[in-house]
């Protein structure tokens, strides 16, 4: 198809502002899905997406659309809104010339609205503003229009007023996609160059690459080359998402679709790589992406040592479908052999965890998530660690650096005071304050990632009665007065319980942690001393008293079945504990590190 009859666009927005629902209406209006196939949030096809009601992975779909008697091909990419999945949005935008920025008319501009709008600007993408959910009684399209104009510079009177739910305004918006968004450049005469903007692993077909063709064209049986990886393959099948995968006999310049080329390992394909013709290659690859950065790390150990190979197989399977999650073998003196896993954020971690549990039958003990740190050695070298236990002795270190982020919070003015106090307590530095409207404000901070990545969001929601939203972006590592806290259980350091905190807060956190551990670790046959040490010096101690009496008074013939059940349950309870030295530590104990000590 001629490129001027193609439009490629993403739908971007803050979480839950209605991207996937708008996509549903567009699929319907263009007759892409029949009413028989129809269901809500069509494009959220993963089980987890449907259960949680959120989009996790971007998905593309090709629609046919008539305008002034001519047929157009519209390629829509629905994107996730959650902060953990920003890189999905960046990738989608790199495949498009346009974007629809959806803003919920009852919520207004939110943190991810701003973040995603910036991404669109950064990617040189034309933006159409859409104020959504105008069917709701609480909708304030005028106020929201002002905010959009003020914060994002999109003219209020150019914003579409729509309801993805009822369909009001969607036909006009679709018309505008054709009339207002630019078509891709026609580069059909050049050598083939297609950007891989996503990939997926299919058990039967191997890796499926989602591509946007920028130049030339791709055909079945063509010999192609992945420019970055420097490997060649033969195209087995090409196609479009309608939304099912539908084979076509070519993907031309400007088009979006998929390529299957008998690639068995997802890790052979780097998202952002360029596909070109093997015989007539493009002179240079397309600009790619920066690989997503893992923000939090957590160790996973099999509950039972013999399950280690099972756990490895499970992670391998998971990473086939998600290249943004990393895992490397890990050996902890306290917990044995396991894996250190890296995630884009806590939601990402939760999702992997859930899939691990759901799709595999392994008991795991997981350590509390941590951020990475850097330290400078006395001889000038800089090292990155993603577990506090790896930090060497203080004497070998000149400074410790922690990851810093740009944190943006959007909130109603009435909760500014509370939020500022929260941020202050978390060592955040206010950079600027910007009023979106007389009642809403955007605060920008420079913040230590470790202070905001775990429970900060929940606290923020609490303080603002659910109204504040936040977004963050990695800036770099910065030196700070940090110390490592070690926890000794029964006189042994439990490396998985070590944590790095700011010196000003260390003692308080340490004591607090001991109290939590005292409650989380069950009583044993013997007394268990618990200690907190900073730099080898014990600063606080507690102890868990042994249990003194634990025996059924009677066990006779008639009771056997019932009493055996009681004993088995008692044994099951023990199994869910991780044995360290002679002490059995339950999963919650490892997570108690996350308690920051505010109450």
């Amino acid at each position: 198809m001629a490129t001027d009859h193609i439009r490629n666009f993403s739908i971007i927005a803050h979480i839950d502002h209605g991207k996937s629902t708008l996509a549903d209406r567009m699929l319907e209006l263009t007759g892409t899905v029949s009413s028989r196939q129809k269901r809500d949030q069509m494009l959220d096809s993963m089980d987890l997406e449907r259960e949680r009601g959120i989009t996790i992975k971007a998905s593309a779909v090709t629609m046919r659309y008539e305008h002034e008697g001519r047929e157009y091909m519209l390629n829509l990419i629905d994107t996730p809104g959650h902060v953990d999945f920003h890189y999905e949005v960046s990738r989608a935008l790199a495949a498009c010339e346009g974007a629809i920025l959806v803003v919920d008319a009852t919520q207004g501009v939110q943190a991810q609205t701003v973040a995603n709008a910036y991404l669109a600007v950064h990617n040189n993408v034309e933006i159409l503003g859409a104020i959504n959910k105008i069917d709701l009684p609480a909708a304030q399209p005028d106020v929201v229009g002002d905010e959009i104009e003020h914060v994002l510079g999109i003219r209020k009177n150019e914003c579409f007023r729509i309801s993805g739910k009822s369909g009001i305004g969607v036909p006009e918006l679709l018309e505008a996609v054709v009339t207002l968004l630019p078509p891709p450049k026609d580069r059909s005469d050049e050598p083939a160059a297609a950007l891989i903007f996503d990939s997926l692993y299919d058990e039967y077909r191997g890796v499926i690459c989602y591509v946007r063709v920028f130049a030339g064209c791709l055909k079945p049986k063509q010999k192609i080359r992945l420019m970055g990886a420097g490997r060649s393959y033969v195209v087995g099948e090409l196609g479009k998402f309608t939304p099912q995968m539908t084979p076509v006999d070519q993907l031309g310049s400007g088009e979006v679709g998929y390529v299957v080329a008998a690639i068995r390992d997802l890790h052979d394909v780097h998202v952002g790589d360029t596909i070109t013709d093997d015989i007539h290659p493009a002179p240079k690859p397309l600009p790619g992406y920066v690989a997503p950065m893992q923000m939090v790390f957590s160790d996973f150990y099999p509950g039972n040592m013999t399950d280690y190979p099972k756990l490895r197989a499970a992670f391998e399977r998971l990473s086939l479908n998600d290249a943004s999650f990393t895992f490397i073998p890990q050996n902890s003196p306290a917990l044995g052999f396991g894996f250190r896993c890296g995630f884009l954020g806590l939601l990402h971690m939760e999702i992997i965890q859930e899939r691990l549990e759901r799709e595999n039958d392994v008991d795991v003990v997981q350590t509390a998530p941590t951020v990475s740190y850097e330290y400078k050695t006395t001889d000038g070298g800089v090292k990155r660690i993603d577990s506090p236990s790896e930090l060497p002795d203080r004497s070998a270190i000149e400074e410790i650096r922690e990851p810093m982020v740009k944190l943006e919070i959007i909130t109603g003015v009435d909760s500014i005071g509370g939020i500022m106090r929260l941020a202050e307590g978390r060592r955040c530095k206010l950079v600027k304050t910007d009023y979106l409207s007389p009642t809403r404000v955007m605060l920008e901070y420079t913040a230590p990632l470790a202070e905001i990545v775990y429970d900060f969001y929940d606290q923020l929601k609490g303080i603002s009665h659910g109204y504040a939203t936040m977004d963050y972006e990695f800036l770099g590592f910065e030196a700070a007065d940090l110390v490592k806290i070690d926890i000794l259980v029964n006189k042994n350091i439990v490396d998985a319980l070590s944590l790095i905190v700011h010196r000003s807060n260390a003692e308080h956190r340490g004591r607090k942690l001991l109290i939590k551990l005292r409650k989380a670790i069950p009583r044993h046959q013997f007394e268990i001393p618990l200690q907190v040490a900073i730099g080898g010096k014990i600063i606080a101690r507690e102890s868990i008293k042994p249990f003194r009496k634990d025996v059924l008074a009677k066990l006779y013939g008639g009771d056997v079945t019932r009493k055996m059940k009681v004993l088995k349950r008692q044994k099951e309870g023990k199994k869910r504990l991780k044995s360290i030295g002679m002490v059995q530590i339950p999963q919650e104990a490892f997570m108690s590190i996350l308690d920051t000590g505010e109450d």
Binding site: R548, K549, V551, Y556, V560
Partner: protein, 376 residues
Amino acid sequence: MTAPSLYVHIPLCVRKCPYCGFYSEPVAQHNPARLVGALAQEVRQTVRDPQVPTVYVGGGSPTCMPMDLLGRLLYEITRTVRGFEEFTVEANPGQVDRPILQFLRNIGVNRLSLGGQSFQPQELKTLGRLHTVEQIVEAVEMAREVGFENIGVDLIFAIPGSTMESWRANLKRAIDLGVTHISTYALTYEEDTPLTADRDAGRITPIDEETDREMYELAIDMLTDAGYEHYEISNFARPGFACRHNLGYWANRPYNGVGPSAASHIQRRRCTRIADIRQYIHAVENELDPIAEIQETSALEFACETAVLNLRRIRGIDWAEYRATTGYDAMDLFAAVIEEHRKNGMLTVDDSGIRLTRPALPIADSILCDFSDIDD
């Protein structure tokens, strides 16, 4: 192979004690004559091999029934079984007089188990017992006079309001009575009992764990000093007077249980009877099966049960006996747990077998539970 022993359950009491978790109902609400008829019939149907090693008639309170009915039941039993070496009847102080005891003795009962529970009037009241301290003493004396040599008394400790002193006094009274067998049970808060409801509502304060343990240790010390052999976690007997019937349970030997809620265990099959007096009578009278639940245990489950039950005994698991009972080698099945608990000083291991150490007794379940299941 010895024949299964026989247990007969009388699920009737004058009044339900607030702590009791057994299946029993007030006698006034039922027709004990019909129950005895059904029990007798089930005994006849169940006992295939009359060479029953031990018989135990328990409850409930067998002695809350009119004497003629209890007599009829015992007569039926003795007509059906032969050659038993031990025949126990549970008796409640206050419900027995000399003629009843005389009758029991004459018909062949050779062991009496008395639910004494405490020698403190206040504690008997807390427990909701209907008898007095004097009646316990009288029952023991009368039993001895009519010829019972083997008399057991049950005691309960850690009763709310009790103290180390009151418990010491109770143990002393029991020892001074010169009975051959003493069982000491920590008061247990069973589910769905008035006692547990009182505790949960804060109306009574349970004895703390440390005192509970000290009371248990005091019992072991005083009773063994007085010449009783500690032979099971809660049981003490003069040499030669350990309860053979119960030893059968802890050896995991087969038994038949007759009566509402009673369980049989024959060849790895446990059959529990209907825990409802009327339904039970109806079933037996109409020659229907009074069984409510049948459970087949696998050879491995049986081996686990055997280990747990054996370890309740102070002599613990005997390698040879265990192999003969289960077909397994206990050391093979439980090597890792045995080693762990041996290292922690909770188990003694030697050529003859394994047993709990003294420090392990008060916390036995934390060790026994590891034998309740085999890890795969």
